[in-house]
Amino acid sequence: MTPLLSVRNLRVAFPTRSGLFEAVRGVSFELGRERLGVVGESGSGKTMTGRAILGLVRPPGRVDADRMALSGESILNLPERRMRRLRGARISMVMQDPKFSLNPVMTVGRQIVEGYRLHTGVSRAQARDKALEMLAAVQIRDPERVFHAYPHEVSGGMGQRIMIAMMLAPDPEILIADEPTSALDVSVRNEVLRILDRLVRERGMGLIFISHDLNLVAQFCDRVLIMYAGRVVEELPARDLHAARHPYTQGLLNSLPRLDRPVERLAVLQRQAGWRDAPPEGAA
């Protein structure tokens, strides 16, 4: 079976005054109808990997790979016009903070309808019905009212649910969730995750869940990629995360405080220059 998404040796680089900055240096993975977690520190290339898949790395940034294919057909450096037809329709993305990722001067309804109509070409009334249906699907009690609300009139958690509704309306096959709960309250976080999980399962989608929260990813995902300095250092099933073999992953795990095993001092993450270029541990 061809995977939904297959990425081999993805590289993203930006020319800077002091030479080429390589944000992503040879990332390979495959995504099926599963929840794939991508974990790493900030600057490890998680976000850029997501943007590169969507073709959203703006010049002068450069994207290069041996292979990047969506259901078997190559999407590497497609012309912008063809990439636009994939974006939103087949691959979509939810970003970190709905306060910034929703357009402040447009009503929620218009923002949902806009993307949906673009890819389906349905009438205004049909798109409206779909938007209300999607708002209901993310458990918004009064979709009619929220449809006419502006983003500043809803809370963060509701904003993120709106974002999910908007991005899932055109029925994409893959959703990239880039730190979708980092800007939310802990109490709201689980709610949003549950909705996201249910919708992704129901639709049989592939989910790339980018996060820096190891525990969250361990609970929520099927498989985890650990990234360091633009590379995947380890790949393993989420349930085996505690048995990680790579010293970087172990270091990350050891630097988390645990209620059941209190320690005098938390371990400090030690980084080694050798990790930058060593081949990844585990399944790959």
Partner: protein
């Protein structure tokens, strides 16, 4: 601003649908505009106070200006009393306010007419020029700034930069003279100095004082063409200057918005670049853009003295400058009140526009 009833609890997503909202909204709007109107009145009062004080502390004796150098002491005293200068200062201010509200700014010494009458003549000339200039500045400057931001570093951006730089740095009187020399003197494409050719002077009945409008009202196409050929060069010059400013400001506003997250969202949705720029980012710069345009329009309404002098344009800038040089305080203060009122009105207008353009404005 999160309302407490919208806290994130599924099943309690918010207050019951605000069915009675329209009347509540109307009330809120009404109260808001009442507040704006109050601040408007206070601002105008402040403006009058300032012009009044300036009129009193200027080392120019208003009585002497009226009675002349050779008046006797008795004549001087009579005029002094007639002008109310013997009264307490607050009474003088009340009298001044009453006069201004009646549209009475006194008599201008240099023209011999009532200042109000002079202003009715010179202000429309400036208004016409400033409006046309601002229209050019907006219609060219805004798209230029948006495109320059969208293609940052591209050739359009470079051209826009040079155009704006030249606009900033060229002295306007020089450009004006060169323009007259080339387009009027050599090519004969446009009319010469002044608002109208000598043949058409006073031929169109005055309705608004804007000759372009008046000639259209009268249905006089020849007069319209003539007035247009006279205004096109000075308006083009002023337009070029406001274009330089507006395009640079538009560009920087757009750059800020284009790096915002919601722009990424719009791109993720698969929108075309045109819709991302004009449908999403551009709508978010409208509020600051309105301020910039209003300020630029206001500064043109002050009258661009150099342009008016080069083009013999009988506008308010020239009028006030001449009056100031002649120590004609009535004319100066009258003109100042008119210009100040324009600024206040423009502020009010942009305030109203903010509220229409930005749903977050309260």
């Amino acid at each position: 601003m999160v309302q407490p009833d919208m806290l994130d609890q599924p099943g309690r997503d918010g207050p019951p649908p605000a069915a009675g909202a329209p009347s509540g909204r109307a009330m809120r709007l009404g109260r808001r505009f009442a507040g704006v109107a109050l601040s408007l009145v206070l601002t105008l009062l402040g403006l009058l106070l300032v012009t009044f004080v300036i009129g009193r502390i200027m080392p120019i004796d208003p009585v002497l200006k009226v009675v002349g150098e050779r008046a006797t002491q008795a004549q001087y005293d009579a005029a002094y009393q007639a002008m109310g200068l013997d009264k307490p200062i607050w009474q003088q201010f009340l009298r001044y306010m009453a006069e201004v509200l009646r549209g009475d700014f006194g008599r201008s010494i240099s023209t011999g007419h009532a200042v109000a009458q002079d202003l009715r003549r010179v202000f429309p000339a400036t208004l016409e020029l400033a409006t046309l200039g601002t229209m050019i500045g907006v219609l060219v400057g805004v798209p230029l700034g948006v495109v320059a931001a969208a293609r940052r570093g591209g050739w359009i951006d470079q051209v826009a930069r040079v155009v704006a730089l030249v606009g900033y740095s060229m002295p306007i009187f020089w450009l004006g003279l060169m323009g007259l020399l080339l387009f009027y003197g050599i090519l004969g494409w446009v009319g010469g100095p002044g608002r109208q050719g000598i043949v058409y002077d006073g031929m169109v009945p005055t309705v608004t004082g804007l000759i372009l409008v008046d000639s259209l009202v009268a249905g006089d196409w020849a007069a319209f063409r003539d007035a247009f050929s006279h205004i096109v060069l000075p308006a083009g010059l002023l337009g070029y200057f406001s274009l330089a400013y507006i395009s640079r400001m538009t560009r920087s506003f757009m750059l800020e918005q284009l790096s915002a997250e919601y722009v990424v969202t719009a791109r993720v949705k698969g929108l075309s670049e045109r819709r991302v720029i004009w449908g999403h980012a551009f709508r978010n710069i409208l509020v600051p853009l309105v301020t910039v345009i209003a300020l630029s329009f206001g500064s043109l309404l002050e009258g661009s003295v150099l342009t008016e002098i080069v083009f013999s344009w009988p506008g308010i800038g020239q009028y006030i400058t001449k009056a100031l040089l002649a120590g004609d305080m009535n004319a100066v203060l009258g003109g100042t009140v008119v210009v100040g009122t324009c600024f206040v009105a423009l502020n009010l207008l942009s305030d109203i526009l903010y509220r229409l353009l930005d749903p977050r404005a309260t």
